[in-house]
């Protein structure tokens, strides 16, 4: 029952959740190649879509009255998608694997760590990974001259907010899954998000009511937020974006901990 299982004395602590992040870090320290190669993918997308297709588009894209090159237009969107994909992948595939198959958490729950610590720890880890990717992405964008505005620096905390939001959402969804095939359901949601959230073309391409629909979806807000920052075309809509992502993260965290309680403690 929602709310009924949350016991006092089992609120998460930074130290306890942190020890779970530590465990993941130790594991990934050995597979640094995988982390480094994670930068390769956004680089390919930036070069291929941004510059390759951008050359076909030729002229600039209008954005809030600004005119930007296509590569500049699409780069922050690719960064937002990478943040979303990375966070959801971490809290779905990996999390599900640990939860259902390896029973990793059975052992951990015999220590002072409680269910909330586990949820907080895994989401925090998604956040750490997301931050590393974001730093790499911003570096690549700077290197290719695709981030003209000094506000780009703020894109880092913005990307972290995205990692938190999507990580929490991913974790929440994963607690409902029962088989590997269910993970495909998560993919099914990610693909249209990636394609239609004004990632590759401006929102104005859509007819009226479709615009509204897209504005209700999560990735759009991440894209809009990052794009506003890297191109320097700030606006009030950014506040909506931040609020949306925060709400998504908090809701996901809450659901994840409640469900984990039910799944792990019987």
């Amino acid at each position: 029952m929602i709310g009924g299982n949350l016991r006092p004395g089992t609120l998460p602590s930074l130290r306890r959740a942190g020890s779970l992040v530590e465990r993941n870090a130790i594991l990934y320290r050995r597979s640094w190649l995988i982390i480094v190669s994670g930068f390769a993918e956004p680089l390919f997308y930036l070069l291929g879509i941004g510059l390759g297709v951008g050359a076909l588009i030729g002229s600039t894209v209008t954005l809030n009255g600004h005119s930007v090159r296509y590569a500049v237009f699409v780069a922050p969107a690719l960064m937002a998608s990478a943040a979303m994909n990375g966070a959801v992948y971490e809290t779905s595939f990996n999390f599900f694997f640990k939860l259902r198959y390896v029973k990793l958490y059975d052992a951990i729950l015999s220590t002072p760590l409680g269910v909330l610590d586990v949820a907080a720890g895994e989401i925090a880890w998604a956040l750490v990974r997301g931050t590393l990717y974001a730093i790499g992405f911003i570096a690549v964008m700077f290197g290719l001259g695709l981030a003209p505005s000094p506000w780009t620096i703020v894109a880092l905390p913005a990307a972290m907010l995205m990692s938190f939001a999507f990580g929490a959402a991913g974790a929440a969804l994963t607690t409902f899954l029962r088989t590997w095939q269910d993970i495909e359901l998560i993919l099914i949601v990610l693909i249209p998000l990636f394609l239609f959230s004004a990632t590759f073309y401006p929102l104005e391409v859509y007819p009226g009511f479709l615009r509204l629909v897209v504005e209700l979806t999560p990735l759009y807000h991440g894209v809009n937020l990052l794009r506003s920052l890297t191109t320097g075309s700030l606006g009030q809509a950014m506040l909506v974006d931040i609020g949306y992502l925060l709400a998504l993260g908090v809701l996901g965290l809450w659901i994840a901990t409640l469900r984990l309680d039910r799944v792990l403690l019987k």
């Binding site: 995988i34 099914i188 073309y201």
Partner: protein, 261 residues
């Protein structure tokens, strides 16, 4: 193929189909919805921007018409990759399905044949769904367009067979993300799907033409748009066949070594 080989392959097929029957719903949805979504977003949405920038089209065609066959070939490549990596490895290592099969009169060869036939079936499914989506989006302009389906299947096999050989030799799944990031992902973007390949620097073009996908994309595109002539078509076909045949040969070696050491 001997009668036993056929029986064996049939057993493998049966087993996979049985497993698939329980899980097909998600796959089918993705297999059909994904092409529609990609064509809509990239072909139409992004196409709006590209068409504005290319008033004469790309070789006279709209971006949607240009893009669609490229996406078709890329889709079979990605299906081939996902089917011959994690799932395959987990079958070899954990499910011990093959061990059980080999305790019967089946031989390693039969297992491989069965798996490849099953794979071809999956690729056919993916390609057909893409084809239907392309039909709905009106990007099929030539009577020979339907041949793009078997071409896409062959394109998928050209990846599936060598990757199969690789997977059978692996103890852990550590190699898969590397292939995904350094082979599959760049190919998806640079093999001529999203923009004509002659826009790449010459050295990159040369490398691209060494891979199966570039040929798969070129051939599919030529068939759906009606722009291909016999000679280049045969070259593309030959490259795809070469990768497939060599891949199967290697797979036979590594799978035998793995299952019957």
């Amino acid at each position: 193929m001997s009668r036993q080989a056929w029986t064996g392959a049939l057993h493998v097929l049966e087993h996979n189909a049985l497993v698939y029957r329980r899980t097909w719903r998600g796959s089918v949805f993705v297999s059909f919805a994904a092409p529609v979504m990609f064509l809509a977003a990239m072909g139409v949405g992004l196409g709006t921007l590209v068409n504005r920038g290319t008033p004469h089209g790309i070789g006279g065609f709209s971006y949607l018409e240009f893009l669609a066959p490229g996406l078709l070939a890329t889709a079979t490549m990605q299906t081939a990759f996902s089917e011959t990596t994690y799932r395959l490895l987990s079958r070899i290592r954990w499910a011990r399905t093959y061990d059980a099969m080999l305790a019967t009169p089946l031989e390693v060869q039969d297992v491989l044949t069965g798996e490849l036939v099953w794979l071809a079936f999956r690729l056919l499914m993916v390609a057909t769904f893409y084809f239907v989506a392309m039909f709905l989006f009106r990007t099929l302009l030539a009577p020979g367009a339907v041949l793009a389906i078997p071409v896409a299947v062959l394109n998928g096999l050209a990846f599936a067979a060598p990757i199969f050989a690789f997977t059978a030799s692996q103890q852990t799944d550590a190699g898969f993300p590397v292939i995904g990031r350094f082979v599959i992902a760049p190919l998806s973007i640079f093999a001529g799907t999203f923009f004509p390949i002659d826009r790449l620097p010459v050295a990159a073009q040369a490398i691209a033409w060494l891979t199966p996908l570039t040929h798969g994309v070129a051939l599919s595109r030529g068939l759906t748009l009606g722009t291909i002539s016999m000679q280049p078509a045969l070259v593309h076909l030959a490259v795809l066949l070469l990768y497939t045949v060599v891949g199967i040969g290697l797979a036979r070696v590594t799978l035998s070594r793995r299952l019957a050491p």
